[in-house]
Symmetry: C2
């Protein structure tokens, strides 16, 4: 498997674009994105479990209920959520695109991200769609920019791999930043592939993968109303369609996982206000579930996050987070180390502190990618969770988001 | 019922003191507190549910297993948690006090608060105990100061009430600030009363009360390892001992609730870095449990907390928090208003936004006590939760707590 260029346009038959249409006031920010497949594509999606759901989710669910779609349209700057006319507006977005690009409105995935509870004006979208469609091309980067809100960098990746003697590609773009604490589904992520996969197996691949990737990512503990991960597979790589849990399916899953882990790490690293990526790697758990609960509890702790911001080896807070997050924890078998490119330092062994060099620990934690290594000492299951530090800028950004 | 002066010394027979013994480096900060009852007192306690527990909790549990105690000793600056010799040190604290004050070590409640995982040196405590005991008197304020960590104000209150023709008193002190997200028990709170209550009924009163008070308070979502609420009842008011769920018990519960709600509000308002107290009052819920989940989810949301810091009427975040926090929510029946001393403003009715004056909303939210009023519109149960805003200072304090 190779990392390649091209994002969501890397897979055969996919083009994309992103423009500024006027939803966001800042004219230098793109706010409307489109991904298009030459051929109708098998499509799978997972959505937020928040009971307050964005209107676009209802429309997308209906549109892809037959397992196929051909385009994705997404605006930023307004979530089209908690509005009386939300479904109407999301449907209108599909209808307008359908007319311009000449595909059925029912083959369109629609998504929105931004402020909740303000009516989404259809006019800038209506006026922008012709330019959006006209500019379709190898523009994954524009599409990645058009879905950003408080993100500071665009997130895109693509990989190539071989199945059935054919070269296949998977590419993805994502938006993250704030309100990131996916539960069963997550954020806005659009993935494209030219690998031929049946809708059922595509859904299975996605639903399985997110359990260990997006669902293990948290910026602030808030599960968004508009989270959505969608994957379109148009089959243009020419491989025999994957329709069962074969070796080919495993190869596909592995490629998909490379894409999703990359996007998770980037979403976490670019969490609102974040100065560093924090990974919690848990080993020695009794069960996979225990390992996941442990990793996520550490990553979600405000106190651990603030300590990481201060590059403070305050491992007591890691123990504390394990103690309230893991029901059947035995504190006496827990060991903790911190690690980064600057080295690794054990700070707690079998539930008690060990002497360590504060200077060395500080040096390790000052890096912009740090790992919290936890060994629960009771089994052989592991898990990883991705998060970021809690900073002044998180507070600044969210104290004044609407204005 | 009347609010009175005196804190934990308001009830007959109780004296207290707090000194600087040298655990904390800053000599102007008291770090060792003592509460003493002339008579052995019925004693009840509730503890943290964190599985990583401070050593003092184990010692206290053992000491009050017979339902009685006569003194409370507590240090700040070090939590005596995750140390190999923790139980030994906590036991030694009881033994040293026992010798000095001439009561059995088994009648002493011991507690510690501060950094986790650093060995607690017994020497400053040993050297300080004679002065601590000598200064016993009407010094509730000193005791309240001696248990503070990052708290900026001491928390104490007392009330008087009548039972069985006798005037009774309940007083309490608390420390709060950070790592405040009690779950079945909470923080450090010491309550004294001269009302005669049997150990069983005292425990029942406390265990019932905390469900709607301390357990509905959150500063940062982190459940501490050392949380403890203790109440000592020495019976010196002279009333007939309360031994069952009588009218007298109800009167006692009401007085206790006045003390605990006051302490909860003050702990929330003095949350680490907080600029304001945020109360979420939920009405119209189907069940009490639904009301509590709703109130707590709103209070715990980092995004709602940051919006409150910015005095931003971003009610979409309130809906979002309800949507992931309440399993059986119907978003279409939810209404939200903001309220403070400056007035009340509805922002969402039946799940959709309503036009409102941003200027008026800002004026309301700029107050230092604000209420988020939620009506779920599906029943007649209600609940209240207490929290605070998320500020630059929370990050500053916790990015650099150990140094």
């Amino acid at each position: 498997m190779n990392i390649i260029q091209g994002g969501v346009c890397a897979a055969k038959g996919f083009t994309a674009n992103g423009i500024h249409c006027g939803i966001r006031k800042n004219k230098s920010k793109r706010d409307l994105s489109l991904i298009f497949s030459e051929k109708r594509a098998a499509t799978a999606a997972v959505y937020t479990t928040n009971l307050v759901k964005g209107a676009p989710i209802a429309v997308t669910k209906k549109n892809i209920s037959d397992g196929y779609a051909q385009a994705v349209i997404c605006n930023s700057g307004n979530a089209n959520t908690c509005n009386a006319n939300g479904v109407e507006i999301a449907t209108e977005m599909c209808n307008l695109l359908s007319e311009e690009i000449n595909i059925p409105a029912e083959d369109i995935v629609v998504a929105s991200t931004g402020v909740i509870g303000e009516v989404l004006d259809i006019n800038p979208i209506k006026n922008g769609i012709p330019e959006l469609v006209k500019g379709l091309g190898d523009n994954s980067a524009f599409a990645a920019e058009g879905i950003m809100t408080t993100d500071t960098v665009k997130k895109e990746i693509a990989v190539s791999f071989e199945i059935d003697g054919k070269e296949c590609r998977i590419g993805g773009i994502a938006k993250g930043s704030g309100m990131i604490h996916p539960n069963m589904a997550t954020m806005l992520v659009f993935i494209t592939t030219d690998c031929a996969v049946s809708p059922e197996m595509l859904q299975k691949a996605l639903s399985t993968d997110i359990q260990d990737t997006f669902n293990m990512t948290s910026v602030d503990g808030d599960t968004s109303t508009n989270d959505m991960v969608t994957i379109l597979a148009n089959g243009m790589a020419g491989n025999t369609e994957i329709t069962a849990g074969s070796e080919d399916f495993k190869t596909f899953m592995k490629a998909l996982n490379t894409v999703t882990v990359y996007l998770c790490r980037n979403i976490a690293a670019d969490g609102e206000g974040a100065t560093k990526l924090v990974e919690c790697k848990v080993q020695g758990a009794k069960t996979k579930q225990q390992a996941k609960l442990a990793a996520k509890s550490v990553i979600c702790s405000s106190l651990v996050k603030a300590a990481m911001f201060g590059s403070d080896a305050n491992w007591g807070r890691v123990l504390c987070a394990l103690g309230y997050g893991v029901k059947d924890l035995n504190p006496d078998t827990v060991s903790v180390s911190f690690r980064s490119a600057k080295g690794e330092i054990p700070v707690c062994v079998q539930g008690a502190g060990v002497p360590f060099s504060e200077d060395k620990a500080k040096e390790i934690l000052l890096e912009n990618e740090v790992e919290i290594l936890v060994n629960l000492g009771v089994g052989d299951c592991d898990a990883c969770a991705w998060g970021c530090d809690l900073t002044y800028d998180y507070v600044r950004i969210n104290g004044d988001y609407r204005t």
